[in-house]
């Protein structure tokens, strides 16, 4: 009997490192996650935080805001971070890794990362796929416009933009550069071409603000990221959304990152694993039209038509050299202020 007990103890101890981390009790510990509010927060609470809390006993606390706020928080807390997981844009993730602010993606730590389409875990883990297309007023455009149609002189000053710097702004500059026959590595041409659209009628702080005005025909069009707009189209009959073809929509990826040296690395990895899992990724696609990065997600034809969800679709999109773009941030912000807003 004693021998059996001894074998059992030895076996348990030897197997302990192999047990899933979920088996541990994390009661009394708190995981801090920085993300966007609204639908994203709701989905993460339902599909990630809830199951994680139930399995581990830990508490998940959300810090809501913009990705710029989170990046500055990571820089400020570089030596003593208080945030464990953060959601960033694709243009921020590679730079955050280069600066040592986040942990490099590793499928050994986050098993679901192995299911993410190859090459997408750039800097951090790829969370969702969206494209920058055109949201337009049907009163102004009876048919879905191409990018070049925005340069109709009659529409000068009738665009709306997100605050710059942003992926929407950088994407629109890349489009303007291609309309001018170059690419974003020629900012002189890109800004000159974009300036031809005039100063925006609105720099919007909320989606409702811009969609209400667009629905009424006051705003002609806006470069917007697909997910949220497509989800809102049923509320605004006068608005359409299109992925243009020449050039194609700009690929934008949301990334989920493990903050370097954070207080709860294991919980952070578990959170990211659940976020990349089939359940969460499917909910993202079905409820907010954010394309899944997990290759094992199966969508209906109707759902798949509304999202970017395969490497082939990704290849057809315009992909920016985000590492170069991020290095231009200060200069381009000055240019945007002066040449676009201040004209």
């Amino acid at each position: 009997m004693k021998r059996i007990a001894c074998y059992a103890a030895v076996t348990a101890v030897s197997l302990f490192p192999c047990l899933p981390a979920f088996a541990q009790d994390y009661s009394g510990r708190t995981l801090v996650v920085g993300t966007w509010g609204g639908d994203i927060e709701r989905l993460l609470k339902e599909h990630v935080a809830g199951p994680l809390e139930a399995k581990t006993g830990a508490k998940v606390e959300f810090l809501l805001g913009g990705s710029g706020d989170r990046l500055s928080k990571m820089v400020a807390e570089r030596n003593n971070p208080t945030m464990d997981v953060t959601f960033q844009n694709i243009y921020e993730a590679p730079n955050a890794l280069k600066e040592g602010l986040v942990v490099a993606p590793d499928a050994a730590l986050v098993p679901a990362a192995a299911d993410v389409w190859a090459g997408m875990n750039d800097g951090c883990y790829a969370m969702s796929l969206v494209g920058l297309g055109i949201a337009y007023s049907k009163a102004v455009f009876p048919e879905a416009p191409e990018w070049a149609d925005l340069w109709n002189p009659e529409l000068k000053g009738k665009m709306a933009y997100a605050p710059y710097p942003s992926s929407e702004g950088d994407g629109m500059l890349a489009v303007a550069a291609r309309i001018a026959g170059v690419d974003e590595s020629n900012p002189d041409a890109a800004f000159a071409k974009l300036a031809e659209l005039g100063a925006p009628m609105l720099t919007y702080n909320s989606l409702d603000e811009v969609l209400t005005l667009m629905d009424a025909g006051e705003i002609a069009a806006a470069p917007m990221i697909s997910g949220y707009v497509i989800s809102n189209l049923e509320n605004y009959e006068g608005i359409g959304f299109v992925f243009p073809k020449d050039p194609g929509p700009v690929l934008v990826r949301d990334m989920v990152c493990q903050v370097a040296n954070s207080p709860e690395p294991e919980l952070a990895q578990m959170f990211i694993d659940l976020a990349l899992g089939v359940d969460t990724q499917t909910a993202y696609a079905q409820q907010v039209n954010f394309g899944p990065t997990n290759s094992k997600v199966v969508l209906s034809d109707e759902e798949a038509a509304r999202v970017i969800n395969t490497p082939e679709e990704v290849d057809s999109l315009l992909q920016l050299d985000w590492e170069y773009v991020i290095t231009q941030r200060s200069d381009w912000t000055d240019r945007w202020n002066k040449q676009i807003l201040g004209q």
């Binding site: 500055s72 820089v75 730079n95 600066e99 702080n205 912000t333 202020n337």
Partner: protein, 288 residues
């Protein structure tokens, strides 16, 4: 007659110490860091800081026409908002003091509501009122007075309305305090000597109200100079103020040294306004 009880210097020091330590920790130290940071620079294309001393951030502010323009807009907008607040608050404060009767407390309470509510909610409410599809444009259109929407957002008009709404209490309260101390007999005496209402205002009431006017103007000017939420939301990215520039550089570009320099320049103007206010107050005290 009230007598001040004797308090030893040690007791005084102990009583003051918690607040002093708190102020040093949460205000003085961060402020000193802000000053130091403003003389550093951002490594180009990186989130790292170059800690060698440089005046580049200040040179950029005072030689780049865009930033000078932002500074000028912020200064004159603050001055204009102060003037509008003064013109609205003078009759309001006087009416509350002289005619409000029992409702005085209630009216003062209502007038300070914008301060209690914070900046965000009233500003978002104003967006609904002022937007092209908002209440004002809708009412004017339905009355047939306008055909297309008046531009009330994304310009100085919208920002001024928002800032006046937010900071009017800062002018009303000092004025009420001052007007309450002016004996009503002075006005009667001036009128009995043949002074017209305009002359009474110009030569009797306004000089006596000056301390309140100076205090209120200083408060409104400084608040408008540093306002961020209202210009950001109602200006819709088209009214560039120093606070919105500092936010853009600090939170979005992550160029903290430049954002610090913008903050220090703004603080310099606040200090300048404070010194001017103190000089005027001292002169008024001497004259009276």
């Amino acid at each position: 007659m009230n007598q001040t009880p004797d308090i030893s210097p040690t007791t005084t020091a102990l009583l003051v110490a918690p607040a002093a330590v708190l102020m040093f920790g949460v205000f003085v130290l961060p402020f000193l860091f802000l000053v130091v940071l403003s003389f550093w620079s951002q490594v180009p294309g990186s989130l790292s800081l170059d800690t060698s001393f440089t005046l580049a951030n200040y040179v950029r502010i005072f030689t780049d026409s865009y930033y000078l323009g932002g500074l000028w807009t912020t200064l004159w907008l603050s001055g204009f908002v102060t003037l509008v607040c003064l013109l609205l608050a003078l009759p309001l404060a006087r009416w509350i003091v002289l005619h409000a009767g029992r409702a005085k407390g209630l009216l003062i309470g209502i007038s300070i509501l914008p301060l209690i509510c914070g900046a965000l909610l009233p500003t978002l409410g104003l967006v609904n009122l002022l937007s092209p599809l908002g209440f004002i444009n809708g009412a004017l259109k339905s009355m047939g007075l306008i055909q297309s929407s008046l531009p009330l957002l994304g310009n100085i008009t919208g920002v001024t309305i928002g800032l006046v709404q937010a900071f009017l209490p800062l002018m009303v309260l000092p004025l009420i305090n001052t007007i309450e101390r002016i004996p009503h007999d002075y006005e009667m005496a001036a009128m009995s000597l043949g002074a017209s209402p305009l002359v009474v205002w110009r030569r009797v009431l306004l000089p006596l109200m000056l301390p309140g006017i100076v205090a209120g103007s200083l408060l409104v000017f400084c608040a408008a100079l540093t306002a961020f939420v209202t210009p950001q939301i109602l200006g819709q990215g088209k009214v560039i103020t120093f606070a919105s520039l500092a936010y853009q550089q600090a939170a979005m570009v992550l160029d903290w040294p430049f954002a610090s320099a913008l903050g220090i320049v703004m603080l310099m103007f606040l200090a300048l306004a404070g010194v001017l206010g103190a000089l005027i107050s001292r002169r008024l005290a001497r004259a009276s």
